[in-house]
């Protein structure tokens, strides 16, 4: 008994460090850190992090072109409006496995939940950089309520959903730090959290679109529609599915040793399965976009230059990836499905950027000049992307996300 206590106290700091450095001695760990990707990452961070400091020291005007006509720029256009649908991985995978009972996708659940959690966390980080007084970010939750506002709903949901996703991911963290009893509790609430997550996601994915219902004349009519919330919600579903495909592809390629064989062996089959679901949703989404044009009888606008851009978005970045996915599914080719998935993700980013930035106030003079972000802002966004990737990789390297912790096999979740 005494011996055990002694051993535990003695090795606790060592255990902690060992967990952090994945069992490697410091010198070996430091050596392994120097990779081409890491070097580039550090360079970008060296430029971007000081710029973030500049933003807080000297104001938003120093790093953005945000103006009175164009209050939102890519900090939100990318970080919030693109980041959130790409973080739909959590609710999509959890629902598929725990609610709809597609048990075979179980290996991908944790990866999906982690991707989603990180995405929302970083959406908040982008927000903290972009809003005028970030120290007041909790005001809509606690100080002053504006319940007529869709943004009020978004604020509450992002805050709540972050918590839900953290709780959904907590079993992985708890397994890593070997807190068995807490983990048991965390598993019990999974189904509840999943249902809560779907409810919240339905509402805030569509709410991000509903935000723009307040600007009917200011968004180009081909993109503005009373159905924007539906478009955003449906596209978030296939965005989540494709993002799981994309992330699992990249993770399986670069972090292969952190995955176990159930994960790796089934990945191709699961990829095709996800692709099947994604292309079904994309067909629906494509039809919805056509309905959006028909509803307001905007066919004539398709022949304008903006119409050309609209057709590019809908045909080349929705219909085409959809067809690639369909083809991939029919041929049972995981590679084709992956290609389609990356393409579809690009399409989601494009449509979000179009609605929130590119087509906003399209009719004001100097429009194109105003929407090009300054280099400083680009570097800030790149830095945060790098941080996102680095933290994501850090977690994947250490926690049982793509593998099952053998200590918990009998109580798997």
């Amino acid at each position: 008994m005494n011996d055990n206590c002694l051993v535990k106290e003695e090795t606790y700091p060592a255990r902690f460090l060992s967990k952090l450095m994945m069992g490697m001695p410091l010198s070996e760990y430091a050596r392994k850190l120097v990779t081409p990707f890491n070097v580039v990452a550090v360079i970008i961070l060296c430029v971007g992090l000081p710029l973030i400091g500049l933003r807080f020291w000297k104001g938003l005007a120093t790093v953005t072109h945000a103006s009175n006509e164009y209050p939102w720029s890519i900090l939100l256009g990318w970080g919030l409006f693109s980041g959130v649908p790409l973080s739909a991985t959590g609710y999509v995978m959890a629902t598929a496995v725990y609610i709809f009972g597609f048990k075979k996708y179980h290996p991908l659940v944790r990866l999906g939940v982690l991707t989603g959690f990180m995405g929302y966390l970083f959406a908040v980080i982008y927000l903290l950089i972009d809003i005028g007084r970030p120290w007041r970010i909790y005001y809509p939750m606690a100080v002053s309520f504006g319940p007529t506002s869709v943004l009020f709903l978004v604020a509450w949901h992002v805050a709540t959903y972050l918590t839900v996703q953290l709780l959904e991911f907590s079993p992985a963290i708890l397994e890593w730090i070997q807190a068995r009893r807490t983990r048991k509790w965390a598993i019990m609430i999974t189904v509840g959290m999943t249902i809560g997550g779907v409810i919240l996601s339905t509402l805030h994915q569509s709410a991000l679109g509903a935000l723009f219902l307040m600007a009917p004349g200011k968004i180009h009519p081909l993109w503005y529609s009373p159905f924007i919330p539906v478009f955003f919600f449906i596209s978030s579903i296939y965005a989540g599915l494709c993002m799981v495909i994309a992330v699992s592809t990249v993770a399986a390629r670069y972090l292969r040793e952190k995955a176990d064989s159930p994960f790796l062996d089934s990945l191709d089959e699961l990829t095709v399965g996800l692709g099947k679901a994604a292309c079904a949703v994309m067909f629906v989404y494509f039809a919805l976009r056509v309905i959006g044009v028909a509803h307001d009888d905007n066919w004539a606008l398709l022949s304008s230059s903006y119409g050309f851009w609209f057709l590019t978005e809908v045909l080349l970045f929705v219909l085409l990836p959809c067809l690639v996915l369909t083809f991939g599914v029919k041929r049972n080719s995981a590679t084709l499905v992956r290609l389609g998935a990356f393409h579809a993700i690009a399409g989601v980013i494009l449509t979000r950027l179009n609605v929130s930035i590119l087509m906003f106030n399209w009719n004001l003079p100097g429009h194109f000049h105003a929407i090009v972000p300054p280099t400083r802002e680009v570097f800030i966004v790149l830095s945060i992307i790098i941080l996102h990737i680095l933290i994501f990789r850090w977690i994947l390297n250490r926690m049982p996300v793509m593998r099952e912790d053998p200590a918990y096999l009998e109580d798997r979740h």
């Binding site: 933003r55 807080f56 020291w57 000297k58 104001g59 938003l60 005007a61 953005t64 945000a66 103006s67 009175n68 006509e69 209050p71 939102w72 629902t95 725990y98 609610i99 709809f100 009972g101 809003i131 005028g132 007084r133 970030p134 007041r136 005001y139 809509p140 100080v143 002053s144 309520f145 504006g146 007529t148 506002s149 869709v150 943004l151 009020f152 709903l153 978004v154 604020a155 189904v191 249902i195 779907v198 409810i199 339905t202 509402l203 569509s206 709410a207 509903a210 935000l211 723009f212 219902l213 307040m214 600007a215 009917p216 004349g217 200011k218 009373p226 159905f227 919330p229 539906v230 919600f233």
Partner: protein
């Protein structure tokens, strides 16, 4: 044991299940959920939610601006600057070269005057004063997640910098591009816009721009009265005025009313605004929230139970 059912529209107990046991066909459920979910999302914005015209506060004030009288002297800009303690402008107020390009209110100017060519009388250009129009149903107030805007009973729409956290959604929502933001400040950025001299009004005075206008182009008074005066003017001088009071019905109406000798579209006024307040566009969506909060747990819970049941059956 999936039994395909042909009429699976909202399939629950009617699905291919055994009588007496709540087994359900998974396909039916997904289909049924999609139908209900879709209907809920498309959310019929019923008339019950439609806002009535603002009928309370009959004594709310307005500002009637007669663009046929404005001579472009910029006394209103100068008076506004002085009355609100705004920083001195880069270009002085008697400098007329500012009219060479169109300006808009900024973080240091609540109002600006722009010049337009006058097709009816090329020697006499038309001048238009631009500022917050203090809408009857302000989009900014509806958009603000922290309720930083208030429509006062006196008419002006006021901004509260003590709760604003700078999301700038109000700037996205305003149909008149009125709010300006102070991006230069790191610690105290805020929205900047006309206040209709609320303090002066409460103290029994009139807004500085109306008081300073040397030709009386701006009339301050009760909005209802101003509408009557405006209609009267149009009736008496039909050749002088276009038969429209801008601000009477646009986006639910504004406190600031305009009369013009040329169509308002030629003076960069937004002409594509609906008559209903813009906030009504979001009411349909927001009304879906309680529906989703109620239906989703039930539907998803049912789905979960159905699947577990299925697994138990083997």
């Amino acid at each position: 044991m999936e039994k395909p059912v042909k009429d699976a529209g909202g399939g629950s107990e009617r699905g291919g299940g055994k009588v007496g046991k709540a087994t359900v066909n998974r396909r039916d459920f997904l289909r049924g959920m999609a139908v209900v979910g879709g209907a809920a999302l498309l959310g019929a914005p019923s008339d019950a939610e439609a806002l009535h015209d603002l009928t309370g506060w009959p004594d709310r004030m307005g500002m009637l601006t007669d663009l046929t009288e404005c001579v472009g002297c910029r006394s209103c800009e100068s008076a506004c600057n002085a009355a609100n303690g705004l920083p001195a402008p880069e270009v002085p107020f008697d400098e007329k070269s500012v009219f060479e390009r169109k300006r808009r209110p900024t973080a240091s100017a609540y109002t600006v005057v722009n010049r337009y060519g006058n097709p009816k009388n090329p020697g006499n250009p038309i001048y238009r004063k631009v500022q917050c129009n203090h809408c009857e149903e302000p989009s900014c107030a509806s958009a603000c997640p922290v309720h930083a805007y208030t429509k006062t009973p006196e008419g002006p729409v006021l901004y509260n910098k003590d709760v604003c956290f700078g999301c700038r959604y109000c700037m996205i929502a305003c149909p008149y591009y009125a709010p300006a933001y102070d991006y230069e400040s790191a610690l105290e950025p805020k929205v900047v816009k006309c206040t209709m001299c609320y303090g002066r009004i409460k103290a029994g005075g009139i807004p500085a721009c109306a008081e300073s206008c040397p030709v009386g182009a701006i009339t301050f008074g009760k909005r209802e009265k101003l509408l009557k005066i405006a209609r009267n003017r149009i009736r008496k001088f039909p050749d002088r005025y276009v038969d429209q009071i801008y601000g009477e019905v646009e986006a639910g109406g504004t406190s600031w009313l305009y009369l013009s000798g040329v169509p308002f579209g030629q003076l960069d006024y937004p002409t594509n605004l609906p008559r209903r307040p813009i906030v009504e566009n979001t009411k349909g969506f927001l009304s879906v929230v309680p529906l989703v909060l109620t239906l989703w747990p039930a539907l998803l819970g049912l789905c979960y139970t159905a699947n577990r049941n299925k697994e138990e059956e083997g």
